[in-house]
Amino acid sequence: MLVETCLVPALALLVVASADAGARLGATWADTIFWAGLLVLAAPIALWLAMPDVRRPHALGLVTALGLGLYLIKVLHSPLNFTLYDEFLHWRTASDMLATGRLYSENPLLSISPLYPGLELATHALVTLGGLSIFQAGLVVIGAARLMLSLAVYLFLEQVSGSVRVAGLASLFYTAHPQFLFFNAQYAYQSLALSLALLTLWLLLRRQQAVGAEGRLLLVLAAASIVAVVVTHHITAYVLTGCLILWTTLAALRKGWRTAATRDVRWMALLAVVANLVWLVAVSSRTLDYLGPPLVDAVHKVLQVAFSEGGFRPPFQSDAGTRPPLLEQVVGLGSAVLIVLGLPFGLWHVWRRYADNLWAVLLAGAALAYPLSLPLRLIGSWEVGARASAFLFIGVGLLLALALERMTRPGRLRALRISVVVGYFGVVFAGGVISGVAPISRLPGPYLVGTTPRSVDSQGMAAAEWAYRQLGPGNRLVADHINTALMGSYGQQRVVTYQSDNVPAAPLFLAAGIGAYQRDLIRQGRIHYAVVDYRLTQALPIEGHYYEKWEKLDYPYSEPIERDVLAKFDRIPRVSRIFDAGDIVIYDIGALADEP
């Protein structure tokens, strides 16, 4: 067992590290080696989990090895610093917590983050007790969360299905959701909250088998875990609450109120509702303002399409209009088709064998919601659809496992049947990686314009650290999307953004000159400094925008920004150029606020 759970994953990580090393040095073979590393990691584990005689400790070990192995792939991508955008937002919250020793400081990068401090509390404890940096502590916390998630998903699905093999296969398919490899491995609040939510669900199920003091304790722990989820991440808390309410409703419709299991889940649902409401009212009232716009935008886009007002976006097309290679598009599409084709078979098994199992019915419902989330990607609401996959894929995993489990049973052509199952998983898994991470972001490499992690490099970090040391923290400053994250986190500056201050940055940088409108913005935002990154003139932004997503509405462009436009601050009297690092220049523009 140690060979497949330790040695093979270690070898896979060495292969991926080699791919990353090659990518950093510009090797053209890096992408191929990266996929080879994923294959070495996932294929043997899928094969062993598909074996009919897989034993429970083995299945647990394999699932855990896969979950941790995929997490370490993300760590190998950026072993010394955070490079994903959301990581900077939470770094800032953790840093403020360390500086003040208190919660709920203002975070100009993500105002909602300090109001859900679960992740940063764990980080703070590790930093102060363990002597780690925020980055190191963040890696450890998310690593622990990933270990918990892997165990909790398996144990939960084992309780639901009553089968080691189904649980193993279902956990395997869960790792194939688009956000598993990078997004839910990043230092962000959902990464921790997801594992706590799965822990809660497992505790509720496990409690049904426990009697006496053990049962009561598990219920208490479930209650405590619910509260921890509520104070860690809003959406996960709402999904967990919704799940508990749905289960309770189904139970009321099917069996009546008065079973012990129903009573426990009912009380936990009530606790979850109350905890969410209390937290919303007492601490995080801004949550609705924060979550509202993306949801409204998604509904708006759906209505646009429904009323034939256009709004379709071709599959796999990024915000910048680029597409991955054709093979990846085929595999991505094939993955979605395979999932959609497999779900009805899994549903049939739920109907036949688990119709009285309300958790299985609930998960089946979640799985059926997954195909409904796919069209969101075609109407530009990619983020809503992608985020949903982290929750819906627990059901998808179960149904696909049920659909395929029989194919792995002893009998004729067993080797062929298992190969088909492993191949099926391979396509679904590859499709998840392709859908979840853009090709240029899967591997590290030299600077690229307008996309994390490739826009995060030593220049930007050095400029941010300079700002913190030489200017001090808290200066009001505007910058492009990437430097805003760096200046707001490592630089500890009070970045002025449209989200926090209703002051857009694009007009200050993309306009040919500084006119009355720009001066009004500087006054309104009380802006002191402007950070100009001249590397933006090298190319169009990969994520489709330099400053704000809607900037092209006011400043349409099909070519990179002209250097002369960014250099306008050099031609304005009374604007000081206080910092020059070649590509990154910082201007003191505060005097412009005094001009009419």
């Binding site: 363990g130 165990l151 200017l471």
Partner: protein, 264 residues
């Protein structure tokens, strides 16, 4: 001491060390990492389970999951409580909270653990020779992975310096007011991987205010100074700081300050 208490004694020892470190103000990271990480992520949960479920039917995997999960929950909820106290969030308050919870649970577990109880087995893994060899090999492979990664990161820095000559050399001139007089905090930082020599000139129009003909900086080092400016400088013209590579006639970094608008 009976071996059936060994795990709890070990937990207690591990808890007391970071508590002692926090009280004594010792900052040695090696000590703190070794004990602070388990205290945050595993021991509170382990001790609570031992205290509350001495006769548990939970298996090893479930205990590991709960030890992690309960520890995180205790940390998160405890942090919310600590925030309400006068002491707030600091190493001592964390050590007292997490250490206190863990030690209390350990004491309860010591009292409640029955004589007939077998060790949960988390502390007694058994490996065959072949398995140990496999584990060792896996460990070596992981070490090789770390070496490859870190070496590549270091090489990439050199590569970035060569393609296309991305030199992270910073020049700054931040205006200040010292005793009512205009001053400048001027500095250079060499973030390249090689020793470099620069020439720095401060001027207003054609008037040279100050010049530093040779500033040698090792890689990763910075130089800075504060200069009080002459009273007779014009506020209608900016003051320029120009940085030259050694022997080069053209400045490759330029800072410019308008004294009229200096706010620092």
């Amino acid at each position: 001491m009976s071996r059936r208490y060994l795990d709890l004694v070990l937990v207690g020892v591990v808890v007391l060390i970071p508590l002692g470190l926090a009280l004594s103000g010792v900052n040695d990271t090696a000590w703190r990492v070794g004990f602070g990480v388990p205290l945050t992520l595993f021991l509170p949960g382990y001790a609570i389970l031992a205290a509350t479920l001495p006769h548990s039917t939970l298996d090893k995997a479930e205990r590991v999951l709960l030890s992690l999960g309960v520890s995180l929950v205790v940390t998160i909820l405890g942090g919310l409580i600590l925030n309400l106290t006068p002491w707030g969030l600091q190493s001592l308050s964390w050590a007292v909270w997490l250490g206190g919870v863990t030690l209390t649970a350990c004491l309860i577990a010591l009292l409640r653990r029955p004589a007939s109880l077998r060790q949960p087995g988390l502390l007694r893994p058994r490996f065959s020779a072949g398995q140990l060899a496999g584990l060792t090999l896996a460990g070596l492979v992981l070490i090789a992975t770390a070496v490859v990664t870190l070496r590549a990161v270091a090489l990439a820095s050199d590569y970035a310096a060569a393609y296309p000559a991305v030199e992270v050399v910073q020049l700054w001139a931040v205006p200040q007011t010292v005793d009512g007089q205009h001053a400048l905090r001027i500095g250079i930082a060499n973030h390249t991987t090689e020793m470099a020599t620069y020439r720095l000139r401060l001027q207003q129009a054609s008037r040279v205010l100050e010049e530093w003909p040779i500033i040698t900086l090792p890689p990763g080092e910075a130089w800075n100074t504060r200069l009080t400016l002459p009273d007779d400088l014009s506020t209608a013209l900016p003051v320029d700081a120009l940085l030259y590579r050694q022997g080069a006639p053209i400045a490759f970094r330029r800072a410019q300050v308008w004294l009229e608008t200096a706010q620092h």
